[in-house]
Amino acid sequence: MKKVEAIIRRSKFNEVKDALYAVGIDFFTYWDVTGVGNEKESHLYRGVASSRDIQRRYLSIVVSSSFEKRAIEIIMKAAGTGEIGDGKIFVSDIKEAYRIRTAQKGPDALN
């Protein structure tokens, strides 16, 4: 199993979610993070300009290895705008997965 972690624009989240649903990936977990990278958010407060790190959404999707490619392709497509700040995808190994409710293990536990 693989863990696909995607750090995307918050404004693209709904499109990514819909696209993942469309191929049957309707199990994942997400939260909001702050991204340090090329894109910044510029603020102007009481006459002083500053640039802040940007808010992003972090998706953590554990998929069976066969789904890995598909998930990545879909996210790349749905999250991209071509402008700086589209985000990253990182892939790593998951040794084991359990569904708490049923104690199922392995790929069966994923959805």
Partner: protein, 406 residues
Amino acid sequence: MEMLSFTISNLWMMVCIVLVFIMHLGFAMLEIGLTRSKNTINILFKNMAVIIIGLLAYTFMGFGMMYSGPQGGIFHFGGFGLRIPLNAGTPQYNPYYTFWTDFLFQAMFAATAASIVSGAVAERIKLSAFLWFSFLYVTLIYPVVGYWHWGKGWLSGIGFHDFAGSTIIHSVGGWAALIGILFLGPRIGKYNGKVSTIEGHSIPLATMGVLLLWFGWFGFNGGSVLSADPGKVSKVLVITTLSATSGVVGAFFSSYLLFRTYDITMVINGILAGLVGITAGADIMGVTDALVVGLISGILVVLAIVGIDRLKIDDPVGAVPVHMVCGLWGTLAVGIFGEKAGLKQLFTQIVGIFSVGIFCALGACVIFIALRKFIGLRVSEKEEHEGLDINEHSMRAYPDFRANQH
């Protein structure tokens, strides 16, 4: 003696000015409470601007247009700026209040009419378009309608009754809100395929806003007696309170029966519905009338919220149901309940509703068309997604809190 009674009535009117003023805080809190946190600064900015624009526009033109015209007229231009009479501070100006009190009370009302629009068009209108709209509407439309009735123009001549402004204030705001929404269209994500919800980001602030509006309404209706007459004013306060109360009863039961839920946003809209509904007739209704008018207002507001949503008209705070629908209902109710009830009065009320409605709707259309042409009405899709705060104001309303943005 005359001086003392002048001082007392003037004092009451000054108290009412202060109360009407704080309604602007009520509107601001209600509107931000029922919208998303990414647009909060924008809405606050609009609400602050509307107070300023309302007061200034009224100072420079509105007060003159509204109150210095001939009896029975249709339009009047009263010149620019305030014409301060020599007897401004004496009972010769008016036995119940000074020129200054008169002006300030009316100016606060004018600012209120503009505030109503703000919530309906929130989360998608361009700031500059909204500011221009408010300025033009308060300068050109509101004082004309105000003159028709309170300035002793033609509507007052035919016997139209609108005590504190169900039509003259609330429907004037409500019509502009409706036209604004129609021009703007719904917020992104509200009606894609099916009707979805965009929940308000702070129910506490929304609730606070409504209680502050109720608080201010004591001055809004209580001051509309235009004197401190003990019997009249105190009865108006009771009638106003009872209608607000039964507005909640109406909204609570109708929303519970329809959706089997205790929806607090319906309850607070029910309060406002009852208040708007009684505003036209608070001086001529009895206790039972008030309870019935409020109850129906409360039911109407729930039905209107649902109905408008079905029609894919996206009104985040319920400004149209509250101010337009209940404003019209309250105006009609003057012909059905209370001292003046009767077919003839009902007919007059309908004439008032239609003439004001058509004039305001047309006026709002013309202004919105012009603004669409010259500066555009709606923010870009990207701005709407990311929020107006960061895009139009380069700030966030709650930078220390981690948001669940949507």
